[in-house]
Amino acid sequence: MPKAPFNAWLVPAGRLLLLLGLCFLIAGPWVCSIPQLQLLTQFLSLLVIAIMWNLLAGYADIVSVGQHAFVGIGAYAFFGFAVFAGFSPYLALLAGGATALVFAVPVMLIIFRLRAAYLAVGSWVVAETLMLGAGKLTAFGGGSGVSMPVSVVRSLGVQPALRYSHIYWLALAVAAVALATTWLLMRSRIGLGLTAMRDNEEGAGSVGVNLIRSRILCFLWTAPFLGLAGGIITLQKLRVAPPASFSITDWTVYVIFIVVIGGIGSFEGPIIGTVVFFLIRQYLAEIGVWHFIILGMLSIGVIMVEPRGLWGILRRVVPGDLIPVSHRPPARPLAGSDSAPSGTHLKEPHSTPAG
């Protein structure tokens, strides 16, 4: 049996850190001020979008620069269902997610015709078109947007404190569901195939991974979650407007930086990236546009030095994944004694002694 490596404690320590973070998030409404709670809500929304972008670019090789379209669609649809159709905010939120999914189908039909490098700008064109289209909706205030009626706002709580904690719980729930179900997806046979695709596409195809179906599934998977995030964001901002709801800066630029810096193609990367991003933004916001420049240079540096980001660097020391999406062989009490077919076993080559 190999001895446990010296740095094995880092994995449980990392998990403990994640658990503490989760406890903090759950305790949020009791320990945080309203501005802090709003910040956490933003954090959770961005986390959801980052996880989804990572799923596309990091695994399915769909490097989209237009995913903000689905955030915007979610925002507008939520607004429409809540204000015009009179749905309760909760139902409207779900309907917003569903609408994003419906839009994802034609969008996919367009951009999947473009491969590789061209898909990025192609998805951007589609997002731009949808944003301009949203600006033509007079009911939603056209190009300048519209605010939520007070009645809808009040249905979530008359006092601001209650309302904000309400929105926060919704954001936490959406993030938790997004994280948990995406984790389950990655643990499933589909996720296993996606991870193989990430490492070697042709190799994955020839061991039976259906590349086309996996791509379609990934793309459709992300849309409703982005739509839900769009709904949450609208609840928080209390208005929709094309440039803000379909903001490429907020929902694509930042998100790409988050995932690239945190570590693309891993589950931990987007989480680390979102935390780092909020730290940078809190401390560097006063230097205005220059924090973008720092983020841009940081991400170019990361691609040059360690394409798998901060988590890739940490992973050189940390011996395992914090959120295990990988699979381990079943424990076998008497490995190799009698279970294997006879005659075909080879002696194991001499393995080097551990340590």
Binding site: N200, S206, A340
Partner: protein, 237 residues
């Protein structure tokens, strides 16, 4: 079991596979020889569907699979190794094999785990079970290629120069594994330059030259065929 009918594969004006007919019977171990550029790897790409054919048909167990994608063919029972290994470098050896067992063999993860372990052990990779595939040595990568192909539970196994670059001892080990797989019922098509390995394993040999089969039959007959010596060693002076 496998049948290629007048298959052509052209890259622009280059005819890599030129009007090729080939049939493989169940239980065969067919070895394919041929000089560089004879179209051997392209032949595999055509059988697995990595490249579409320019003309002709590919049949597998009586079904026309000419228009099927690689993953469907794999799920139907065609496993394949690559000459240049294509490991999933950031996944463990076990996971590499599990992907194949789950995707190619079409089982659930739960049901495929034991099979994956069995294949890993069968191919002599048990001691590397949880290592990332990116850290493996060449021999282990070749074993992993084989393990992934076997894990798909192939009825037809395509081996592409799996013995190249190995020492004699390593080659013997690999040969033993391949024989084991054959005994369990798989039909094998094996492209190889290491002739002594082929000679010991193959029930039939075929020689590919200029995109056509120029000789086929029992190993001894083919190796004695003057046309084969011609292709390999040049025209008799």
């Amino acid at each position: 079991m496998l049948e290629l009918v007048s298959v052509r594969r052209h890259f622009g004006p280059l005819k890599v596979i030129d009007d090729l007919d080939l049939s493989v019977a169940k239980g065969d171990v067919l070895g394919i020889l041929g000089p560089n550029g004879a179209g051997k790897t392209t032949l595999f790409n055509v059988i697995l569907g990595v490249h579409p054919v320019s003309a002709g048909h590919v049949r597998f167990e009586g079904r026309d699979i000419t228009r099927k994608r690689p993953w469907s063919r794999c799920q139907m029972g065609i496993g394949r190794t690559y000459q240049v290994p294509k490991p999933f470098s950031h996944m463990s050896v076990f996971e590499n094999v599990l992907v194949a067992a789950v995707s190619g063999g079409q089982g659930s993860i739960r049901a495929s785990r034991d099979w994956a372990v069995e294949v890993v052990e069968l191919t002599g990779l048990a001691h590397r079970m949880e290592r990332p595939a990116g850290e493996l040595s060449l021999l282990d990568l070749k074993r992993l290629e084989l393990a992934k192909a076997v894990a798909c539970r192939p009825k037809l196994l395509l081996l592409d120069e799996i013995a190249g670059g190995l020492t004699d001892m390593e080659c013997d080990e690999l040969l033993e594994i391949i024989r084991g797989v054959h005994r369990q019922g798989a039909t094998i098509v094996w492209i190889e330059h290491v002739i002594h390995a082929l000679r010991r394993a193959a029930t039939r040999l075929a020689v590919l030259y200029g995109g056509k089969i120029i000789s086929s039959g029992t190993p001894d007959a083919v190796l004695a065929d003057p046309r084969v010596r011609e292709v390999y060693l040049g025209v008799e002076a």
